[in-house]
């Protein structure tokens, strides 16, 4: 079975990616806020979190996006389209991971 059968079809794909990206941005703003409050937090670098923290943030975004899908009662609709919770979480983690990778391209 092809991978595309496990991830949401368009337009849900775009919708979930968009929600995950917004959540990532919010997560990053919260991190930046803590760094501003206490420069010792994350050694004062709000942009480069380090690999474990970046992965944890992507995992958190995936979990939050999944919760958001539950909240909107969209899980049954997506399941009827053959998309499991893992498919939703996997898709939600992708933009967070991509954006985290992009932050490493920005010089300190």
């Amino acid at each position: 079975m092809r991978l595309r059968t496990f991830i949401p079809p368009a337009p849900f794909r775009g919708l979930l990616v968009q929600r995950a990206a917004v959540l990532w941005l919010l997560g990053r703003l919260i991190v930046a806020f803590f760094v501003l409050l206490s420069p010792e937090f994350l050694a004062g670098d709000a942009l480069h979190l380090g690999l474990p923290a970046s992965l944890a943030l992507a995992g958190l975004i995936a979990a939050l996006t999944l919760l958001d899908v539950f909240r909107r009662h969209e899980t049954i609709l997506l399941a009827n389209l053959g998309v499991s919770r893992f498919g939703i979480a996997g898709l939600a983690a992708a933009p967070a991971l991509a954006l985290e990778a992009l932050t490493w391209l920005v010089p300190i």
Binding site: P9, A10, G82, S84
Partner: protein
């Protein structure tokens, strides 16, 4: 009844479920046959929706198995069952509030190219409804669109939890007739609901849920002749 054989296309068997210490389902089973409509009746709180949700993997159960076609699922997932041709219409809203109905149809076609959009269009009264969001439709319009969407999937098994919920009698009759048509095309239809008259009219098999378990009453006429069913469920029907 068209093309009905004795082998169920969907079987949800021997389900035991308890919430905390309170047993809700005790060895409950229900089957859906190709080309036939099976109606699951039962008073509020008897566990009809719980049985369906356990059988489709939306709720955990203590014991039980789901058989779709030739595949046995001890731990079913709705997504997996849907990939094998099942569609579940829940008793609450199905559509995403963020997208118009037509976008849902696009997603359905993207995933299942064999889907038939005309089946949805056949059930909505005004084609312009397809361009509205679910929250812009009345409860009845939304339900009709949801049932039409389920039919558009072209499912081999349709499990519909209270498909006539909130519908005016005429609209309810249109949806009931639509379910009958799906069955006539070979789909195995399993529905619950309290609209006894409309549902009994389309029923090939009647199952009565009481005391946490299921009683298979047979055909509509056999169900109507069942004293306990008449006395404890239908009453003044």
């Amino acid at each position: 009844m068209v093309g009905t054989d004795l082998t169920p296309r969907l079987a949800i068997e021997s389900v035991w479920k308890q919430f905390g210490r309170r047993p809700v389902l005790r060895n409950a089973s229900v089957w859906a046959y190709a080309g036939a409509v099976t109606v699951l009746f039962g008073r509020n709180g008897e566990g009809k929706s719980t049985l369906l949700r356990c059988g489709l993997g939306l709720l955990r159960k203590e014991v039980g198995v789901t058989i779709l076609g030739n595949r046995r699922h001890h731990h079913p997932s709705l997504a997996g069952l849907a990939r094998d041709g099942l569609f579940f219409l829940p008793d609450r809203d199905l559509f995403s509030p963020q997208l118009p109905v037509r976008a849902h149809l696009r997603a359905l076609l993207a995933r299942f190219p064999e889907a038939v959009p005309a089946r949805l269009e056949a059930l909505v009264q005004d084609p312009a409804m397809l361009d509205r969001h679910a929250w812009q439709l009345s409860g009845g319009e939304r339900r009709r669109a949801e049932v039409g969407f389920a039919g558009a999937r072209g499912p081999v098994v349709l499990v519909a939890d209270e498909p006539l919920r909130g519908l005016a009698p005429l609209d309810g009759q249109a949806v009931a007739d639509y379910l009958r048509t799906l069955a006539a095309e070979g789909c195995a239809v399993l529905v619950t609901g309290h609209e006894a008259r409309a549902l009994l009219d389309i029923a090939d098999h009647v199952v009565w849920m009481t005391g946490g378990t299921t009683h298979h009453l047979g055909t509509r006429d056999a169900a109507l002749a069942h004293d306990q069913f008449r006395e404890n469920y239908l009453r003044h029907f």
